[in-house]
């Protein structure tokens, strides 16, 4: 039995061995509220992160897989979401006359992307299209910790590094040359709950928010996992006892 477990661990270790050597600097440790078996999103943190996204990131980055209605999970009520959605204008149609028209957003609409297409996005951003952020926390090694590190990782380039026009130096970005200028500066947003808006605070908040956009069912998944595992452990124990009893006459 012990050998069986050892083999299983070895096989699992083989799986995790696929991770490549990081090209950026090692990510600083941060303990997230959504880590671990009982992890949940910290509502105030994620709401602050949403504010950072809306007021800073959304100028260049889309969130096309997230609908306004989804934000209900973060503690916004229906009226607040209707008001929020209505701040955006959507082109819809054709109507009965065959005309396209503009209308205010509803909770069923998805966050509009800031550029009509990737070419336009690249043209307005020094040739590098800003990626959509819906899944960014799952689409980068290190996940939310990487997002947080990247946003706080801007620094002056070492003397021997010559950056191309418009590029910045970032400790954690693979290759260190990043097209995105430092997006956050102290007090870039004004938090309603009075939290001081330091760069690190905003980076942490928005990274938590982006983890939620990438994995909106995380809380449900973890809560269900506990029940499933408890059931399976008890049930497997019963099966083991039954096995011992049935085999008793053979040994």
């Amino acid at each position: 039995m012990k050998r069986l477990l050892t083999a299983a661990v070895a096989v699992l270790a083989l799986g995790s061995g696929t991770a490549e050597a990081a090209e950026g600097a090692a990510l600083p440790d941060h303990s997230w509220s959504f880590e671990g078996i009982f992890g949940t999103f910290e509502r105030h943190e994620v709401q602050r992160g949403f504010q950072v996204y809306r007021e800073v990131c959304s100028a260049c980055h889309g969130l096309r897989l997230v609908a306004f209605r989804d934000l209900e999970a973060l503690g916004y009520d229906e009226d607040a979401l209707k008001a929020l959605a209505a701040e955006y204008t959507f082109r819809d149609g054709p109507d009965d006359q065959g005309e396209m028209y503009e209308r205010p957003g509803t909770p069923a609409d998805y966050f509009p992307s800031p550029f009509p297409n990737a070419k336009a996005a690249a043209a307005s951003n020094n040739g590098a299209a800003p990626p959509d952020l819906s899944l960014i926390a799952k689409a980068r090694k290190g996940g939310p910790s990487y997002v947080r590190a990247l946003l706080t990782g801007y620094e002056d380039p070492p003397a021997d590094v010559k950056l191309p026009e418009g590029a910045s130096y970032n400790r954690y970005f693979p290759g260190h040359q990043i097209a995105m200028p430092p997006p956050l500066s102290a007090d870039a947003v004004d938090y309603a709950d009075g939290t001081p808006a330091t760069v690190e605070q905003m980076a942490t908040d928005v990274a938590a928010f982006l983890m939620w956009t990438a994995e909106p069912n995380l809380e449900e998944r973890k809560a269900m996992g506990i029940k499933v595992l408890i059931f399976l452990l008890v049930f497997t124990g019963v099966l083991y006892a039954a096995k011992r009893k049935i085999w008793a006459d053979l040994h």
């Binding site: 299983a8 699992l12 083989l14 897989l65 693979p174 998944r221 399976l232 099966l239």
Partner: protein, 418 residues
């Protein structure tokens, strides 16, 4: 181990017209005599069956929500993850189920290698198993392409391009596989169709695999044939309950990953929609293909690399004729046992190399490990003639562990109880 009997009128009525109950009784019931000494490594065959059922069940439901089109596939998977009721659960079960299927099947294969389960008269059983492995690899590869993320697209591009190494017709074959001049919508469509089809072909080959198994029954840890009824016990209830306990342990491990580390086996790049203009820095296959990938890249010539990669699996087809030792179980083959563990370590090293870029030390180690992989089979051939096996016990039920087999059985001994 008597004939099937029932007092239930309905069962008797059906049994008379279609003897399905006696069939089942002979397949997995009291009417199937099984060696009494099977250890827990023998659980992995039925576990593979469970994994196959899980994959088909979740896969069919996912297919109801998935859209096989290059513009829609990625978003349809995200819709499953976000809006379909329990879609995230189904998809995480399906993606991780692939990994667990391979874990279970690899353990099953190495168990067969250790205990000589491929030897006479079970050669055909083994060959059918290797065929299942090949079908699984094709199915897994095509399934990985369906979400149409960056790794999906580039894995499809790299793997289909391997066929361009075929002399003369290489490029024509690749164009034919793609249904066009690059990996595109026709490729995705046919991969979806085949990904849906192949699991049912696997089911068919599994039926043949079990059919062949039942001809002579399971091999066993001492690898000798049963000498009489005292060496065997009925499959039910002894192995049904032992397998059921194994299912429980499997489900605990599976649930732990599905609920708490669902992206552990995946590549982050596959959460980026496919983009033919941007090649990922490192194109890596899923972990279960890494050893083959290492072999492919270890060989400097493209065609020979492809041949080596496919050869690394296909050599298993002829293994029953490479290993000529009449003794099945490695417990009684002191030298083979050492080489078995070296071979297992070699496969793990190849997996590690496959995950890393083919340069510097990785390339050198990869080449040595690749050479050793094939050398192992040469060694097995000559070992058959050189090795002097330990004396075999006279029967399965004889308490062999008290006698000469004490050292050989030491490692496996604790597992036999439980």
């Amino acid at each position: 181990m008597s004939e099937f009997k029932s007092n239930n009128a309905v069962i008797k009525w059906i049994e008379y017209r279609m003897p399905i109950f006696s069939f089942l009784d002979h397949a997995i019931g009291r009417g199937y005599p099984t060696p009494r000494n099977l250890n827990y490594w023998w659980n992995f065959g039925s576990l593979a069956g469970v994994a196959l059922v899980i994959m088909i069940a979740t896969g069919i439901v996912l297919a109801m929500q998935y859209t096989a089109h290059v513009d829609l596939a990625f978003d349809s998977v995200e819709r499953i993850m976000r809006d379909v009721n329990y879609g995230w659960l189904l998809r995480y079960i399906h993606t991780n189920g692939g990994s667990f299927f391979f874990i279970v099947v690899y353990v099953h294969i190495f168990r067969g290698l250790y205990y000589g389960s491929y030897k006479e008269p079970r050669e055909l059983l083994w060959i059918l198993g290797v065929a299942i492995l090949l079908l699984m690899m094709a199915t897994a590869f095509m399934g990985y392409v369906l979400p149409w993320g960056q790794m999906s697209f580039w894995a499809a591009t790299v793997i289909t391009n391997l066929f361009s190494a075929v002399p003369v017709f290489g490029n024509e074959i690749v164009t034919w596989l793609w249904g066009g001049f690059s990996v595109d919508n026709p490729t995705l469509n046919r991969f979806f169709a085949l990904h849906y089809l192949l699991p049912f072909i696997i089911v068919g080959v599994v039926v043949l695999h079990i059919w062949a198994l039942h001809r002579f029954g399971s091999n066993n840890p001492v690898g000798i044939d049963a000498k009489g009824p005292q060496d065997k016990i009925p499959f039910h209830p002894y192995y049904t309950i032992k397998d059921a306990f194994g299912f429980g342990v499997f489900f605990v491990a599976f649930a732990a990953v599905v609920f708490y580390a669902p992206n552990m086996f995946g590549e982050p790049d596959n959460y980026i929609p496919a983009d033919r203009l941007s090649t990922p820095a490192h194109i890596v296959p899923e972990w279960y293909f890494l050893p083959y990938y290492a072999i492919l890249r270890a060989v400097p010539d493209k065609l020979l690399g492809v041949i080596a990669m496919f050869g690394s699996v296909c050599v298993l087809f002829v293994l029953p004729w490479i290993d000529r030792s009449p003794v099945r179980s490695a417990r009684f083959r002191p030298i083979y046992k050492q080489f078995f563990w070296i071979f297992l370590a070699d496969c793990i090293v190849l997996g590690y190399i496959g995950a890393n870029p083919p340069e510097g030390m990785f390339l050198i180690v990869g080449r040595i490990a690749t050479a050793y992989y094939f050398l192992h089979f040469v060694i097995m051939f000559f070992l058959s003639y050189v090795e002097r096996p330990r004396p075999l016990p006279s029967s399965i039920s004889e308490p062999v562990l008290k006698g000469g087999g004490a050292t050989a059985g030491a490692a496996a001994k604790p597992m036999e109880k439980a």
